[in-house]
Symmetry: none
Subunit: 216 residues, 4 copies
């Protein structure tokens, strides 16, 4: 078992350190209000050094977005193809997984950042749209279609229903980064997830049939 190396060439860790500092700052302040000095300071390097690794502020933002998303995407894809159980269980699994990430990491700031800057960085918005959203859409509509086909799900409109499934996640992200400071009671993501799963499965309307049912 190798012990930790006694030293590392700085440059190996550098790009990642810079991206981390940039992510943090962009998420905290927004793109325009972030200045390169601050990123450099947080990364513990000089401003000039940033430009050795990234050609400019805009490119730095893109790099931040790209690398923040790509890891998560690959992972999700893998898990999807290796599932077992009902489609409802798979859906629950994804929603739970996602909710947990929102509540724990600050990568959740990225989507908000993209929304905010989509007007000024259409390429980033498009990149996000194609790489993240379209994949999520495919993933979920596939599940829906199969679930409907096998009678597990009601015959909803998959091309629009996937947005209803995703919407609470998006709201959660935004809430965490926008209104949480103003809520004295905070937000309980476990309860949030429970409520979402319950409503997603059974809807709001009390059915005439006496028997209640459980999670999808």
């Amino acid at each position: 078992m190798p012990s930790a190396p006694r030293w590392r060439r700085r440059s190996d860790a550098r790009p990642q350190e810079l991206l981390d500092a940039a992510l943090e700052t962009f998420v905290e302040r927004g793109y325009a209000a972030t200045n390169m000095d601050e990123i450099a300071r947080r990364a513990g390097v000089s401003k000039g050094t940033l430009y050795l690794y990234y050609p400019g502020k805009a490119e730095l933002l893109k790099a931040v977005v790209r690398q923040s998303l790509l890891g998560n995407l690959a992972e999700a894809q893998t898990q999807a193809s290796a599932h077992s159980g009902t489609f409802g269980e798979l859906l629950n699994y994804f929603l739970g997984e996602f909710t947990r990430r929102i509540s724990r990491t600050n990568i959740s700031g990225i989507p908000k950042l993209i929304l905010a800057e989509s007007g000024n960085f259409p390429e980033i918005a498009q990149f996000y749209f194609e790489e993240v959203i379209q994949r999520a859409r495919t993933l979920i509509t596939d599940i829906l279609r199969q679930g409907i086909a096998c009678g597990e799900f009601r015959p909803v409109d998959p091309d629009y229903a996937w947005r209803m499934i995703v919407a609470p996640l998006v709201l959660g992200v935004l809430w965490k980064h926008t209104f949480l400071p103003f809520e004295p009671d905070g937000l309980d993501f476990d309860r949030y997830l429970d409520c979402q799963l319950d409503m997603l499965a059974h809807g709001l309307v009390a059915s005439e049939t006496p028997a209640g049912r459980n999670t999808p």
Copy 2:
């Protein structure tokens, strides 16, 4: 014979024209990337004129937000108190009304703007939180609680369920202003609403009882 006058006095219509131009530009570009010159140009006035009506860029943003919201708020409040029919019908009514506004007016850019700039303008975020979100929350949780009490709704968790109801609206707003340009098929808000109402009412899971129903 004098040529066209260099400017013309428009004093009555001016403030609203300026707000319109500002709303448009802020929504399109975001706060930081918007410059006063551009707003002035769109409003057909000189830069200095803006400062005759609003003391600065930040105040202009606040004025835009304030006046965009206040009108809508008053209206919603009025309609709420004058409803008849089941709670499900009332909910449907609100969601429909809201969806129609998203799809037709460009006031829907305001919420996105607020989300984007909440970090830099906490006061605006707080204003929005208190004036808009808290009211919506009260409105919806009241409906939910009453609907549950009278057996119309399943016993969901109202303090969180209201967010599930609102989430698709928020997503719709963001979608319109962020990803619509990238979608070749556009977005059909009628279908969007139908899907939302259906899922909200009955959920995703097929009930064991053979008979399906349609209205929430």
Copy 3:
């Protein structure tokens, strides 16, 4: 005895009202920090009206200076030619008169204004130099020369001595408008004058002759 007229055509009093407001503001704030809006407001007219009477800010300053000085100058000239008594008495009279004006009116702000703006308004400085300073110089050096000739004064260097006589007046003006707010005890102009006259007459050094005297 005529009673006050029931009305006056506004325009008769206007120019003087404007000059008064301008003097007050220029003295208080300095030329650059004074804006036309403020002058107009103090004069109770609109900004545009200022331009009906004076072609611009610089011209307004010149008009203020000119009219503030001309009156005083004429007066001084008259009194000088109609004096009687020793030259020492004449000198005392002028110094007293001037000191009284410094202490009572706020015209004393004009010299400070001129000093401050001499770099930006050489014409005003030159005007002041020729109309005020050179006259004062002539007046005083004449008195000195005659006083020396008749044995009343010691044989001082009149071309420079006149400045020593004037210096305390200048200092008094500046003091009043610059440092007075910082002095808890204020400034007693009577004592100031007494001290000046005493020192001007007899100097600082105790003479070997036992008898002291008091008037110059």
Copy 4:
């Protein structure tokens, strides 16, 4: 073969160069009429460089004043405590020293600047009042009191007499920076000093005693 570099690093000399350029410009134009571009141009740097060293125009002015005065103050204090000879000689020494500085260096522009801007920068005026004027007052009144006590000086009013002693210096400063350009014969500071010392010592009035006396 590279052409001349766009800029050169001068970091050590820079701050002083900037202060020099600023002093020159402020004295020439006054605070408000001085713009940062001009200072930068005179210092041979770009406008942005100024802001690397001083946070703004106002702070730059304060820095100019502070550093111009502090050196001179310390020096004067030192000399005062190490004097020998009569009090009259000490007074003469100071007046001579001061006059020489007025005539040779352009630091003499600082007092004029302070007078001119005292309305807009009360802090600077107060700083000057406390650090410069109050010290000078103490210095001179102490000398006067001691001189009077030992019979060297006539019993003048020290709290006001010190202003009479200082007044010609102030006038000299103002003269140099305000009216000198208009005087064809210029100003001979040696003669100015001689005249001041002579009048300060013996006053204007010819004493009845036949014997003349010498310098204080």
